[in-house]
Amino acid sequence: MTTITHQPARERELGRRLGRWLPAIAVLGFGLVAWQWLLPALGIERYLLPPFWDVVTAFGESRDELVRAGWITFKEALGGFALGCSLAFLYALVLARWRPLGSALMPYLIAANAVPIVAFAPITNAWFGILSPWSKIVIAAVLCFFPVLVNTLRGLTSVRPESLELMRSYAAGQPSIFRRVRIPNSLPFVFSALKIASVLAMIGAVVGDYFGGSTEALGVQIVSAVSLAQYETAWAAILVASVLGIAFYAVIAVAERFALRWHPSTRGDSE
């Protein structure tokens, strides 16, 4: 008949989870060991990839600076993400509500989605001023905009016809159909897009920094560390950017789990 209900003992559950993660943790360990000892043994020069522990030491030496830089760049990414995703969502609502408009614009939106938007980074610096965070926020926002728009629009419009007929038989108006059917139906699509967007926002902010910005920003620090042959510091900054990007993604993945409890994709969890 039905599933769920029965919950195994908490400890056993914990043990099982640990067991599931063990292979991944082992891979991480091997990776770090190879990075630390295997690469130097193979004669990889430090300007190509310094040993792991040297990078950790470099991070320790300029920790405050790197964390502050990471925070600045992360704020740029977050601002761009919030701006780009919310505009895309609202725009998708408009296009889904007035379909002829949507179908007229869709080919261009898909084309725009394929444009390498980071190519515009030097231009936005010219628009907003090289030291302004807005030049990076806009790049991140534009990067987030198209995947969120295209996915949300697909989610809002891929509703089975009977669902709409049913709402029609209840004499429901358009606002109600959007609130109760189209928007909930779009959520799995929206969250997939938000996960992509979180990655793109970090890329946009860091690459935006590469074309100039406040000397305190992470991307600028990477560029200047490399130009000063401080490869360990550059790698430490890259690690900071990676950790921030992964954390950003993870927060959205957790929010998705929470918001889509009703979705069949969560079924593995409680069994």
Partner: protein, 266 residues
């Protein structure tokens, strides 16, 4: 106000410009408390007729009155509930929330909604599953939720489009009995589209036989089996006589090749 819950007069529906005639001059009157089955081969327009009555598609010509009002008015007044072949539950709503959706839209307050949902869950015997999501239910249970949802706001008319078509024979026979019990308890009027001759005879007060190309009504067979019907009804000689009568009406409608197909389905 007319005594008929549904009265269709010379209803014709064509799709596309000068295209297929899905319905041709349909006249049908359905009295209060009746259980009407529409049966016929694929393409005879029985689902279209149901959708025209429900104001989901407009008729090309002709007039449909539901509760004495134009079908459009009746839809806005929420005069009917609909059940499709697929349960069409909203995946993000629990069983209880699915059943209460029409009530929310009808502006019922929270406590009245909760009371009614409890009644409806009991009616379709799904106690204990209120907080389950649709994917956690079997096909038969999903369809019961869908029926509870359609009945939750006590519509005068229940429109059902092959509601048990996707279920296995055992579940279908059980839900047939359950539907008859609910019909007797609620006193609603039902229009029921089906592919199955025996299901139509078992459930209905009248069976409307349709033929295809163009879709029209070729016969109406009154079913005089005693009420309330039970599993044993299917073994009565009269039941078999009526099944034969409906089958012959389908033959007479020029649907020989399709009757064979219908029988294979049963």
């Amino acid at each position: 106000m007319s005594d008929f819950v549904v009265s269709a007069e010379r209803v014709t529906k064509t799709f596309g410009k000068g295209g297929v005639t899905a319905l041709q001059e349909i006249d049908l009157e359905v009295g209060r408390g009746e259980f009407i089955s529409l049966i016929g081969p694929s393409g005879c327009g029985k689902s279209t007729l149901l959708r025209v009555i429900g104001d989901l598609v407009p008729p090309t010509t002709g007039e449909i009155l539901v509760n004495g009002k134009p079908a459009h008015r009746a839809r806005l007044d929420r005069d009917y509930g609909i059940v499709f072949q697929a349960a069409v539950l909203y995946d993000w709503r629990t069983v209880a929330k699915n059943i209460s959706l029409p009530l929310e839209l009808g502006g019922w307050d929270r406590s009245r909604r909760a009371d009614r949902v409890r009644e409806m869950v009991a009616l379709v015997e799904l106690q204990g599953f209120e907080k389950h999501y649709p994917w956690q239910l079997s096909g038969g249970m999903q369809q019961r939720v869908s029926i509870a949802r359609a009945l939750s706001f006590s519509p005068a008319l229940l429109l059902m489009d092959e509601p048990f078509g996707a279920l296995d024979e055992m579940t279908r026979e059980r839900l047939n009995l359950e539907l008859l019990r609910i019909w007797a308890e609620t006193g609603s009027t039902v229009i029921f589209v089906t592919h199955s001759i025996s299901e139509a005879v078992f459930l209905s007060t009248r069976v409307v036989v349709m033929s295809a190309r163009p879709g029209r009504i070729t016969a109406i067979v009154p079913i005089d089996l005693e009420q309330p019907r039970a599993a044993e009804t299917r073994e009565e000689p009269r039941f078999f006589e009526l099944v034969t009568e409906v089958r012959e009406a389908l033959h007479a409608g020029g649907a020989d090749e399709i009757v064979a197909e219908l029988e294979a389905l049963e």
